[in-house]
């Protein structure tokens, strides 16, 4: 089972501060034996004690608290899983992250870079095989080359060609050469746009993620469009301005994704203007059903409005969001501390996100527990994306809003008793719940967490 990391961090910080356990314990107002247990991760530390220790060590509480490195640790576990023959000591991952955060960060960064590059190679390989633009370009170039080769061969090897015909063949060579040049230039531009060497970001979805992170997931320009509904032209103008001011986007597919996201954001903002929404959200304690009723929107729209906003602007609790289509493809994501969304591969099938497809249009509210005992409140619903049509299957997307369980007091008025927490993971490969019946891939952690409640769900 995953241990707390706080003790390891405290020990490292104390050593860096050249303090003895006795001295730190005295200044923090606790006994040296208690501090010893904390430092060896045998006692949890939080609240006033953690604050006192952080104050004595002169470091931010967040640098000692659990969970701050969960994403990094997940990456380290994934890195070990990705190179099983190396035999990395997976049992010591958390120790590594706690004692050598810089090295851990570097390994995690290198691993992410490798995975991104692998994903890019796969994507490029797929493109070479299936991309209609490439197929058409290459076919066109071969046709140009065929005409040039055949015509020049005639001019070179046949003497008795009439002057008019000779001139015509010269014209053909000139025309086809120009077309060949144009095709080659198009191909070069096409490949140049495949990767951004500055950031290493390769896929359009990751570029969208980077764009949203750059803007803190909120767009004040679109939040208050005024009372009168903005026209599509006005929205398009603002969207273009945001894109021009943000990170450079050259990939057409990325540009399409960002534009679609911002247009959706604008529609949500028009239906739920920022100031009204913020007041209403506080008044009804962020109850999505009530907000959907007040503003006459879908729950998905409310989820998006709650998750995609800059918390600094609204003082709302941070909320994560995952949206997926029925095939499990991630369409949109807004990460939240301690709840990592897998960058590659499939997420845990026990997420309410996926289970909501079994009962479309029925909202679910579930207490979730990740390995490491981090608890979250998960709200999920699958909704049709277009009007139903006879004889056509519904186009369902599912959305899952995630809040830290610690924020439950903010929802106290409407939050029912959530009962026992559902054990879930992030992805199978780094999930220690070895006997989970939903497992699709072997895990590499070498430890087990009892999952008595999973098989019955």
């Amino acid at each position: 089972m995953r241990k707390s990391l706080s003790g390891t961090r405290i020990r490292e910080q104390r050593r860096q501060a050249r303090l003895t356990q006795k001295s730190l314990a005295e200044q923090a107002g606790i006994s040296p034996s208690y501090l010893n247990l904390i430092e060896h991760n045998r006692r949890a530390v939080a609240g006033k004690v953690l604050l006192s220790i952080a104050r004595v060590l002169d470091v931010p509480v967040s640098s000692l608290a659990d969970g701050v490195d969960s994403a990094k640790i997940s990456d380290l576990y994934e890195a070990a899983a990705h190179h099983p023959t190396i035999g990395a000591e997976v049992a010591g991952v958390e120790e590594l992250a706690g004692r050598f955060p810089g090295w851990a960060q570097m390994i995690a960064a290198l691993y992410r870079q490798t995975r991104d590059q692998e994903a890019m190679i796969t994507a490029l390989s797929d493109r070479l095989t299936h991309d209609p633009f490439l197929a058409e370009s290459l076919h066109g170039m071969l046709s140009n080359i065929t005409a040039i080769r055949s015509t020049s061969n005639i001019l070179t090897n046949i003497d008795d060609i009439e002057p008019e015909k000779q001139a015509r063949f010269h014209t053909i060579i000139h025309e086809e050469s120009r077309r060949l040049t144009d095709s080659a230039q198009s191909l070069v531009q096409y490949f140049d746009k495949k990767a951004d060497p500055k950031t290493g970001i390769a896929t359009p979805q990751e570029e969208l993620d980077a764009f949203l992170e750059h803007h803190n997931y909120g767009f004040p320009q679109l939040d208050n469009l005024g009372e009168a509904p903005a026209s599509n032209v006005e929205i398009a103008y603002i969207v273009n301005r945001i894109m021009a001011e943000g990170v450079s986007v050259e990939n057409q597919e990325t540009s399409r994704l960002i534009t679609a996201f911002l247009q959706q954001y604008a529609r949500d903002a028009q239906a739920m203007p920022q100031s009204d929404f913020t007041k209403a959200a506080r008044r009804c304690q962020y109850n999505p059903s009530q907000l959907a009723h007040i503003f006459g929107t879908s729950l998905h729209a409310v989820f998006r409005r709650l998750a995609f906003q800059d918390p600094a602007q609204t003082a709302a609790p941070p909320m994560g969001l995952a949206i997926s289509n029925a095939a499990g493809r991630a369409l949109s994501r807004r990460p939240i501390a301690d709840f990592a969304f897998p960058r590659h591969g499939n997420a845990c099938p026990l997420w309410p996100l996926y289970q909501s497809f079994a009962t479309p249009h029925v909202p679910t509210l579930t207490l979730l527990e990740l390995p490491g005992q981090h608890k979250f409140i998960g709200l999920a619903i699958a909704e049709a994306q277009s009007s139903p049509r006879f004889g056509a299957p519904p186009e369902l997307n599912a959305a899952m809003l995630i809040l830290h369980h610690e924020q439950r007091a903010l929802l106290a008025k409407w939050l029912p008793d959530l009962g026992e927490a559902r054990p879930i993971g992030i992805t199978c490969r780094i999930c220690p719940r070895q006997s989970c019946t939903a497992r699709t891939e072997p895990q590499i952690l070498g430890e087990d967490i009892p999952v008595q409640t999973i098989s019955g769900q």
Binding site: L138, H139, L142, S143, I145, T146, A147, R149, S150, T151, N153, I154, N157, I158, K165, R168, F169, I172, E175, E176
Partner: protein, 120 residues
């Protein structure tokens, strides 16, 4: 008797060079750039040889090849001339029935020699 060749190809400059080379050999040449009109041209001209591209507008060369075998008990000879030179394309053409499969770009000397061989 003069042999007739129908070139079904949508690249006019390739048609022009092929026409020049074949007419020099005493062959009568017609062409059709539209895949959908290929069968009509074949029925109208009754060529001894069809030179058939695969990637054509409106109807693919493989579909035309199938149409040809369905429409004639003794179809004209067919040479597939294509930029799609992968093994599976060659296999597809051979499964439907083709006399010769050549890829672009081609050598003038070789293509003329192979065509004259087919028509001999």
């Amino acid at each position: 008797m003069i042999k007739r060749v129908l070139i079904i190809e949508d690249e006019p400059n390739i048609v022009e060079s092929l026409r020049f080379l074949l007419e020099r050999e005493g062959l009568e040449v017609t062409d059709q750039p539209d895949g959908a009109k290929a069968m009509e041209s074949i029925k109208n001209t009754l060529p001894d040889l069809v030179i058939l591209d695969v990637m054509l507008p409106n109807r693919s060369g493989f579909d035309i090849l199938r149409d040809l075998h369905n429409a004639f008990t003794a179809p004209p000879k067919v040479m597939v001339l294509t930029a799609k030179g992968q093994a599976r394309d060659r296999l597809t053409a051979e499964e439907i029935g083709v006399d010769l499969f050549m890829t672009k770009p081609f050598s003038n000397k070789e293509i003329i020699s192979r065509i004259l061989g087919l028509l001999a």
